[in-house]
């Protein structure tokens, strides 16, 4: 294993899957060599494989995701890069109407992965900072993944490619180059649908995913100094959701905060909070709290984006309140 970034781990995982399985190919805007993608994720991939397997697409998300549906039905395993997760709405019908329903309706399996670089805190404004995962968690027939560590970026990608269903893999742009760690080698799939207890604690559970995992960990450090021990659960997969791990934590802590960078209103946190409030009702010593983005487009200017977005300080404050309940 070599040290690398979150982004390196994705590149490495793509290369490994393409070596392992010749059905895997990459497609998207500007992904081919020598350019290698808006974030350069596919640059090392394009250096390794022929241009038939790392294919530039015109700026036609609806059309080329539609084509990926056909490729997948014929047994290929397309890995589709979007330049930003924000553009996933441009290919919406091909995802939420065709790919998600084909197997249920007539048994046609559509095994692709859409790589969607998501999230903000980079001063990129309303169209390069979105976290649209809730749309897809609500849509039957899609799997949704959101890795937050270098190892998970690698391992969840492997499981996503090997899954027989359409999987949307939300990459965290703020972690791309800032997060470093050991990049796994070879086969190291992390199963879909399994949350990770990132930190054990007995006073309050924080349920989260993506970049917010690291904010929650920072909040936990802060509160530990005050004698409050947070348990941090990183969901890793948003569909299927691992509510068992969450419930057993809440059974121990009796307090829970659900936090994510996506808009809070109608977000994935609502589903998680509602499920906890139902299934863990007798365990709870305080209301299930949520902390997500405000109900506004992600604003650009630093003071506004900071106001929009949860962070370690806000998580710590919310947990303090919860523990004072």
């Amino acid at each position: 294993m070599a040290e690398g970034t979150y982004l390196d781990a994705i590149s490495a995982a793509i290369i490994h899957e393409m070596e392992r399985d010749e059905r895997v190919l990459v497609m998207g805007e500007d992904v081919a060599g020598p350019f290698g993608g808006a974030f350069k994720v596919t640059k090392p991939v394009a250096e390794r494989f022929p241009s038939t397997r790392v294919r530039n697409m015109p700026m036609t998300e609806l059309g080329f995701i539609g084509a990926a549906n056909g490729m997948a039905l014929m047994g290929l395993r397309p890995v589709i890069e979007l330049q930003f997760a924000d553009f996933i709405s441009s290919g919406f019908d091909s995802i939420v109407q065709f790919a998600s329903t084909a197997h249920y309706r007539w048994g046609g399996a559509v095994p692709w992965v859409i790589r969607a670089p998501s999230d903000g805190n980079l001063r990129s404004g309303p169209f390069h900072s979105q976290n649209p995962e809730a749309w897809f968690v609500h849509t039957p027939g899609l799997k949704v993944v959101a890795p937050s560590t270098v190892a998970d970026a690698y391992g969840l990608f492997q499981s996503a490619v090997r899954d027989d269903n359409p999987v949307i893999y939300f990459e965290s742009k703020p972690l791309y180059r800032s997060l470093k760690g050991e990049v796994p080698e070879g086969d190291a799939p992390v199963p879909l649908g399994l949350a990770e207890v990132a930190r054990s604690g007995r006073h309050c559970t924080v349920v989260t995913y993506g970049a917010m995992r690291h904010e929650a960990m920072a909040a936990a450090e802060e509160l530990a100094a005050e004698g409050v021990e947070l348990e941090v659960i990183d969901l890793r997969t948003l569909k299927p959701l691992d509510m068992d791990t969450v419930a057993s934590s809440v059974a121990r802590t009796s307090r829970v905060l659900v936090t994510h960078a996506a808009n809070q209103l109608g977000g994935v946190g609502a589903e998680i909070a509602a499920t906890i409030a139902d299934e863990c009702f007798t365990d709870l010593d305080a209301p299930v709290k949520r902390l997500g983005g405000l109900d506004v487009p992600v604003p650009f200017s630093p003071p506004l984006e900071d106001a929009y977005r949860p962070n370690a300080a806000k998580i710590a404050a919310a947990c303090r309140d919860l523990c004072a309940w």
Binding site: L25, T52, M57, P58, T60, L62, G63, F64, I65, G66, A67, A68, N69, G70, M71, A72, L73, M74, G75, L76, D93, S94, Q97, F98, T101, A102, H103, Y104, R105, W106, G107, G108, A109, V110, P111, P140, G141, D163, D164, N165
Partner: protein, 317 residues
């Protein structure tokens, strides 16, 4: 593949018979939900499908009952599908002719959002090309479908890759109630298609020999690495868009003109030229009628899906 006239007639007659059977069921309250009309589209659906090898793939739409039949979806299964039975290809999950797919028959089921079958067929063709398989993908869309953005995106992709795909545009001159001049500023679909970089040809959509000939050429071109072809086939839908449609909007004179050009009628008028006899055709008619009648009995006797299975099949694998 040259066109076997008796086979061609048989498939068109079977299409008509299944369509009329469905229509009668629905008009007498024995249907489930709604259903589409096929009348007038028999030659367009059957002719191109007859040009394919079993390994080729089709992605038909809502007016292509004939293509499903030619590809081996039996009347029994099609009727069971429309009646929401467990024995249909969607096990009661999808409605009327939507989602009527079966990969064992190389049929891709369609969704309502038009023309979603188009990029899917293009992608299938891209897969064939990538793997150097001598296979062809074929799909159908309407005049309404031809003015969508997805039509342009799909043709461009097909042309860029020189993918082995054949696209039949069923120009029945209406999208639901809207005549083509009202939905397409340039109603010349072949011209619009050609401008996107594909070969486009026009053909009489009610003449199965013409449609078959153009399709055969296109399929051969695709299979030999010559890339995509669009075949614009002119026709007229002779009944409402779907079973509930009052169909007041197509002028009578237009319907009369096209009634005289019914695909089965004009084929029959040429029976002599084909070396077939009217008696042979009538024999097919009664064979087909008996076949569909029997299929209906089986379909109607088939079970509905067990509600306990409602979540089965959401996930593959």
């Amino acid at each position: 593949m040259t066109l076997d006239p008796l086979a061609a007639y048989r498939w068109m007659r079977l299409t008509r018979e299944v369509d009329e059977t469905i229509r009668n069921l629905w008009l007498t309250g024995q249907g489930v939900g709604g259903t589409f009309n096929q009348r007038g589209h028999e030659a367009i659906a059957v002719g191109p499908a007859l040009c394919l090898e079993p390994a080729d793939v089709v992605a038909p739409m809502h007016r292509d009952l004939g293509a499903y039949l030619v590809r081996g979806m039996t009347p029994e299964r099609l009727l069971a599908h429309q009646l929401g039975r467990e024995t249909g290809p969607s096990r009661g999950r999808d409605a009327n002719i939507h989602g009527c797919g079966d990969l064992d028959l190389n049929i891709i089921g369609f969704i309502s959002h038009l023309p979603q079958s188009l990029p899917v067929a293009v992608g299938a063709a891209m897969a064939f090309k990538l793997r150097s398989e001598p296979r062809v993908a074929m799909t159908w869309t309407g005049d309404g479908g031809s003015i969508t953005g997805l039509y342009a995106e799909s043709l461009n992709l097909a042309a860029l890759d020189q993918a082995p795909v054949v696209i039949i545009v069923e120009n029945n001159q209406y999208a639901y109630s809207t005549p083509i001049e009202q939905h397409s500023a340039n109603p010349d679909i072949a011209e619009r298609s050609e401008a996107l970089g594909v070969v486009a040809v026009e053909v009489d959509g009610n003449d199965i020999e013409a449609v078959h000939k153009a399709s055969r050429k296109a399929v051969n071109r695709a299979r030999n690495g010559g890339g995509p072809t669009v075949i614009v086939a002119e026709t007229m839908r002779m009944l409402g868009h779907a079973i509930h449609d009052g169909f007041e909007y197509v002028p009578d004179h237009l319907l009369e003109r096209w009634e005289a050009r019914d695909p089965l009628t004009i084929f029959e008028q040429r029976a002599g030229e084909h070396g077939t006899t009217i008696d042979q055709l009538r024999a097919i008619d009664s064979d087909v009628a008996a076949e569909v009648k029997a299929a209906l009995v089986v379909a109607q006797g088939s079970p509905f899906p067990d509600p306990a299975t409602v979540t089965d099949g959401v996930w593959a694998g």
